[in-house]
Symmetry: C2
Subunit: 238 residues, 2 copies
């Protein structure tokens, strides 16, 4: 009997925003895996592991999947090849493996790379998590989308022209993966007359979160920042 | 000292997909409020209450906010006026009130109507929840969105022309609030050559969930069904 691969969303940051199911599966997993940056970033600390740390068994086998930290992390396929093989050894030996995923495993998550390598060979169960999308709306205290509005989630690294066209065509907008793209995004929103409709959030739900109107946002933003734009109505109420 | 209004997301259906925080706040709330249909639908049973039922205190005061059940529920402002006043009485008397919200309070949720009426008068805290969006992706076992793709969430009740234009311009697509709009949506996806890229989910995470390729979907869909469309790549893997 092989073990089950669990892709477990651990939510946006506050450990209490893990689901009951995530907590139960992590607390019972003999093996946990998680993405981790190389040592140049945060001393190699994994954000997903930090969120779940109190739930992890003291005797759990841990598999950090070290991803070379570039802002666009997805070319690092070799790291996923090696991580998947380590995980496969445990699954093949009958041990369940919980892969800890920031937010949700399938919402801009790296779990899909492991899933693609392992889903045909082992049973997989995916546990959805609270995304940064609703985590940010919650701390801004305003609707992400309502009634029959369309919601468009746009990655900040897109080229300026595409970013502008997509924001212009959209109704409610969430812009993710901000980082060094902040000045470009602010300029696009300014050209569209939307800066006053935009809220800025960094590290939603963590003790050091920053929540501001975009016009008062810091000059430098981390990768895990988000900008929400409500176009169609008073952006600060309903 | 007035009480705090908590807008609490209870997730897509499986009670284990409530967050630890939602569970703690509901279990300690002296007053819980929730949307409920009129008696013509499901005997007036509230889906949000059903999800959270095991956490609710036996001695909790319950405030069902009965919404006349039309597919477009949002014109029912009178029900929110009355519900807000009932809630305000408890808050004013120093009792915390937890409003139970299917999925997430700010993602197409009715909590915003209560928030708009009460946020200026009482402290409010919003607890994000797992949305049906990631709940459906989890049971389909495929990415909702990845890399630098745009994700567009589109309500099914939109007029056919707008639906078609928005799907055509999008990358990853989630179509919500299906119900009686299913034939129209299938026709639009067929015209765009996208039926084979679409997955259909009803009641994600509940014991009676239905998960199928759209080409094998039932002829009638409930309001709480969703269609996910991945356009840019093999829709069933990464």
């Amino acid at each position: 009997m092989s073990g089950t691969l669990y892709g477990v969303g651990v939510g946006p940051g506050d450990p209490e925003l893990m689901t009951l199911k995530a907590h139960r599966l992590i607390a019972s997993a003999p093996v946990v895996a998680y993405p981790a940056p190389d040592e140049s970033v945060a001393g190699g600390q994994s954000f997903a592991r930090a969120i779940a740390s109190e739930a992890i068994r003291a005797d759990a086998i841990e598999i950090p999947i070290v991803i070379p930290m570039r802002e666009d992390r997805y070319p690092a396929q070799g790291a996923y090849d090696r991580g998947a093989e380590q995980i496969a050894e445990h699954l093949g030996a009958g041990r369940d493996v919980a892969v800890l995923c920031e937010g949700d495993p399938l919402f801009y998550g790296s779990f899909m790379y492991l899933n693609a390598r392992l889903a045909g060979r082992f049973p997989v169960q995916i546990v959805p998590g609270v995304t940064s999308l609703t985590g940010c709306a919650a701390v801004l205290g305003r609707p992400l989308s309502a009634r029959n509005e369309t919601l468009t989630v746009i990655p900040g690294p897109l080229p300026e022209d595409e970013l502008k066209a997509r924001i212009e065509a959209a109704e409610s907008v969430a812009i993710m993966k901000i980082g060094r793209h902040l000045p470009k995004i602010v300029q696009v929103l300014d050209e569209l007359g939307l800066v006053e409709n935009a809220g800025y959030v960094e590290r939603a739900s963590l003790p050091n979160q920053i929540v501001k109107p975009l016009s008062e946002a810091p000059e430098k933003a981390p990768y895990f920042a988000m900008i929400l734009v409500l176009k169609g109505r008073d952006p600060w109420l309903t």
